[in-house]
């Protein structure tokens, strides 16, 4: 398909603007743009067609099953899109005076209250833009907390699990901590002995996903919390998997002190091809003084932005966070009410059903019931037929499914991380499991069909190595290289896709 630039013709345009009969204003010569940016030049009809065609070449939850583990690709209710487009939300300037934003402030305040209840903790900052920024913000809180206690210099390390998502270690570094890794035991829990050996007075805290990225609830979470709290350290809950436990088990009750919530996962902000998201943090009272300013507070029946937070770490993002995301998530939660628990129950039921159906066909690294997702390994297929997780993923496309997350978590070789979410009907779970079984048979009978998959997508398997080697990251207009002639660059490496 042509790029939009390749469809452009000089002189075409779609946009028109009001022209007011005013004198032209002068840009000083040395600041004036010399050559115009080569933006697309198309009339409206061809712009609409271009993006329609791009949409047609994009698979979303609306298109079909999207069991991308750790990403919680649930249905996005359309009513949320309706309410977020209300002019009172959509066209509200963030610097509007508080008396002209009472509805927005109330909505944020209500969302804060809800998130605190769901997490079993006390204070909320809605500011972080996504889960990873929530992590970083949470770690900044740890810094501020220990600095405030005079332990700033001492508390240097943060421990993450060997199953952790890559954002955790990355956030640790960005927050200026040193990373230490904790190991997983044979049941998929954190190894307590290993922890005891590593946690000490230099430890600032733990970052943990629970259920873990293996989809397993840590059965010893109380002991884990005791170890850290006993050493004066804090526990950070990576909320990416909160969809498993709403109304069932609360991070605060598990012993966590700081939680981030991925609103785009658990609370159904559409993922938008990569974002936006929302990563509010929810904290125990001892950490409240440090959360980003402003916070939304209620005074009687008025709501206001509280900037008077002398110990606050400061701002982590413009204004008050991704407000439109709040509107959607708030609407999503209000559609459930206390039955939010049901959402998690069904998510867990769906995952366990698939697990039950698939565990004899693919290797299951930890023989346990799962939570809202589970991790299989294609190592049996690799060993026997030379077919790997990537091949299985690509072949799933031919059956009309988005592949699961693969090669993550890192401790499981040939990992297939499957998260159905609660919004999928049984028929679709069955169809997917049927396809997975067929593919395992195909691996035995005709491995080539997997190796060469996908066969029924707009493109065949793409050469990622070539892309990285050539580094063509923008259109070059008349200098644009033609990669079609160039030779293939070799096998793709086994690298995480998803999560």
């Amino acid at each position: 398909m042509k790029l939009i630039f390749e469809k452009s013709q000089r002189g075409r345009r779609a946009g028109t603007l009001p022209t007011y009969d005013l004198p032209a204003a002068e840009v000083p010569e040395r600041l004036r743009r010399r050559e115009p940016p080569r933006l697309p030049e198309l009339a409206e009809p061809e712009i609409v067609r271009h993006f329609t065609a791009l949409a047609d070449r994009t698979f979303g939850v609306d298109t079909g099953f999207y069991p991308l583990g750790s990403c919680t690709m649930k249905h996005n209710p359309r009513v949320n899109e309706r309410v977020v487009a209300l002019p009172g939300f959509r066209d509200l300037h963030p610097l509007q005076e508080e008396d002209g934003a009472q509805g927005a402030l109330e909505l944020m305040w209500r969302l804060q209250e809800i998130l605190a209840e769901v997490c079993g903790l006390h204070a909320v900052s809605l500011q972080p833009a996504a889960g990873s920024q929530g992590e970083l913000t949470g770690l900044m809180l740890m810094r501020a907390y220990f600095a405030d206690r005079g332990e700033g210099e001492q508390r240097k390390t943060v421990i993450t699990a060997d199953t952790a998502h890559g954002t955790n270690p990355a956030s640790v570094t960005m927050a200026g901590f040193q990373l230490q890794k904790a190991e997983t035991d044979a049941r998929g829990n954190l190894d307590l002995d290993d922890l005891r050996a590593k946690v000490n007075e230099e430890t600032a805290g733990l970052m943990l996903t629970n259920p873990s990225t293996l989809g397993l609830f840590d059965e010893q979470i109380e002991e884990v919390a005791d170890i850290f709290h006993g050493a004066g350290a804090l526990l950070y809950y990576d909320g990416a998997n909160l969809n498993a436990v709403c109304g069932i088990s609360r991070p605060g009750d598990m012993g966590f002190d700081i939680v981030h919530i991925n609103l785009h996962k658990t609370f159904s902000q559409p993922h938008g091809g990569g974002g936006p998201g929302g990563g509010p943090i929810v904290v125990r009272d001892i950490l409240e003084p440090f959360i980003p300013a402003p916070a939304v507070v209620r005074d009687g029946d008025r709501f206001r932005l509280d900037y008077d937070r002398p110990k606050s770490i400061g701002k982590v993002r413009g204004f008050y966070g991704p407000f439109g995301v709040f509107v959607r998530s708030y609407a999503f939660i209000r559609a459930y009410g206390p039955a939010l628990r049901r959402m998690s129950e069904v998510a867990v039921l769906n995952a366990n059903y698939m697990l039950a159906r698939l565990k004899d066909t693919y290797d299951l690294p930890f023989e346990r019931l799962c939570m809202h997702e589970f991790v299989l390994s294609a190592r049996n297929l690799k060993r026997e037929f030379g077919v790997n997780a990537l091949d299985v993923a690509k072949r799933l496309m031919d059956y009309g499914f988005h592949p699961p997350t693969i090669y993550f978590p890192l401790i499981v070789p040939e990992a297939l991380m499957i998260e159905p979410t609660e919004t999928e009907p049984k028929e679709i779970l069955d169809a997917f499991c049927d396809a997975m079984e067929r593919i395992a048979e195909e691996a035995a009978d005709d491995p080539k069909i997997l190796k060469e998959a996908p066969h029924r997508r707009p493109v065949r398997r793409l050469d990622e190595v070539k892309a990285a080697k050539r580094g063509i990251v923008k259109y070059g207009f008349d200098q644009h290289p033609n990669l079609v002639g160039e030779p293939a660059a070799g096998e793709a490496v086994e690298a995480q896709k998803g999560a």
């Binding site: 345009r13 070449r57 298109t63 509200l92 509007q96 160039e486």
Partner: protein, 440 residues
């Protein structure tokens, strides 16, 4: 529940297949003491009509820019969002897809990001753009992280005329990065290149904004040169809709260009979600945070697009990653691509010119002392209203006009200063009305 398909008989069959007799049993691994033993204390569920009515009632308690004649800007702008943007963003495939990890499933969104990257590079005169950052504040922190690694230096310089929120966010991030932050006071509304050069000694980067927070045009080429002279990376924070009339930062020596994308294609939305953009010279491509889409071919030799240069990223490089960013702002960036495609080069220039003409008209028409009378401005300018700004705001709002932003919230000595913003949506008649209200 309306979002769930599970029927009673489905549930029965599924539990049987699992080999448990109740859903409760699925949670056997959760230690008893951390199980939640009551119902969540949330308000009752709302049916869809009630939900809409409830949110309408909340929305009605906001005074949006359709209900008040607004001259608020200060980083978020009421530019016209073309109808095609809504239509494109409403496509379920874009809306409900995620990061294109599996490129064969996501050629559309990958190509769109590649096009977005191209547009950002064209606007800024840079070699490489990522797929978006969170907003115009966090990309500044990103730029500092890049500069830190590129230069090995431990200080960053911010012009005081850089959006205060951007500066605040950089300051929040800086300790974790091990960076010290130095600010350069303005002189008469703009940054002095000598001041800037002096501050930039030993700095990893030096960031200024064009047009700056006061709406004034900075001596951008001189500032970039000053930073370069000190071997700090010059970073420009730019407004995308200004780049039809103002020179691209890449053309006057900047190493990195960043900005808030909202004015290109996003609604105000009480401050988010929007997108931040970051683009740089190819020298720094391996330090770029976030997603980058690259061109390649498939096994049949056809052109296609993939996420590329991923060894920079957290899922591969983990604690050594260039950033922790995962979820970004693709949908908003797509809106930006759509808006900029709708404008085209000609429309973008006209948009800039129209804003400037309107601002010039407004300056004259308001007849109030200008905050920085010597400076050329773009779509915003400061005025002095001769009484506390909040009073002027209240009085104007009582007449249905929001006259602008009270600069005292960020700068001392500006008790009576308002930052007034015009966009192409404000007509000369609207400006006349503002003049009337501020005079009255």
């Amino acid at each position: 529940m309306r979002y769930l398909s599970l029927t009673d008989s489905d549930q029965e069959a599924m539990l049987a297949a699992i080999g448990v007799s109740s859903i409760e049993e699925l949670f056997a691994d959760i230690p008893a003491r951390v199980r939640f033993d009551r119902e969540l204390d949330l308000e009752p569920a709302l049916s869809e009509p009630e939900l809409v009515a409830h949110l309408e009632s909340l929305a009605a308690r906001n005074v949006d820019t359709g209900r008040e004649l607004s001259f608020l800007g200060a980083g978020i702008y009421d530019h016209y969002v073309p109808a095609i943007v809504d239509a494109i963003l409403a496509r379920g495939e874009f809306l409900t897809a995620y990061t294109p990890y599996q490129p064969e499933m996501s050629q559309g969104v990958l190509q769109a990001i590649f096009e977005y990257q191209t547009v950002i590079c064209e606007l800024t005169g840079m070699d490489v753009s990522n797929a978006s950052g969170y907003d115009g504040t966090t990309v500044a922190a990103d730029a500092c992280y890049v500069a830190k690694h590129a230069t090995g230096r431990k200080k960053v310089v911010l012009a005081e005329t850089l959006n205060p929120q951007v500066r605040q966010v950089v300051k929040t991030y800086a300790p974790g990065f091990g960076l010290e932050v130095v600010e350069v006071p303005h002189r008469d509304g703009v940054t002095d290149p000598d001041d800037f050069r002096r501050a930039a000694e030993d700095a990893a980067c030096a960031i200024f904004q064009q047009p700056n927070f006061f709406g004034c045009l900075e001596p951008a080429p001189e500032l970039a040169a000053a930073a370069s002279e000190a071997e700090a990376l010059p970073v420009a924070h730019v407004d995308p809709v200004s780049l039809g009339v103002l020179e691209a930062p890449g053309r006057y020596g900047c190493a990195i260009a960043i900005g808030e994308g909202q004015s290109a294609g996003n609604y105000q939305s009480y401050g988010g979600p929007h997108y931040g953009f970051i683009a740089m010279r190819s020298d720094y491509i391996r330090r770029m945070p976030g997603r980058i889409v690259g061109e390649t071919t498939d096994t049949a030799g056809e052109r296609g697009y993939v996420l590329t240069l991923q060894t920079r990223e957290q899922h591969i490089r983990r604690e050594k990653a260039t950033s922790n960013i995962t979820t970004n702002q693709t949908l908003l960036a797509l809106a930006g691509l759509a808006h900029l495609s709708w404008l085209g080069p000609q429309g973008l220039r006209e948009l800039g010119e129209t804003c400037m003409s309107l601002a010039a008209y407004a300056k004259e028409r308001l007849g109030l002392p200008l905050l920085f009378p010597e400076q050329t401005t773009f779509k915003e300018f400061g005025i002095r209203v001769g009484r506390p700004a909040e009073e002027a705001i209240r009085a104007a709002r009582d007449q249905g006009v929001h006259p602008g932003y009270a600069l005292k919230r960020d700068y001392s000595g500006m008790e009576d200063a308002l930052l007034v913003c015009v966009t192409e949506k404000r007509s000369p008649a609207d400006i006349d009305r503002l003049a009337e209200v501020l005079a009255g």
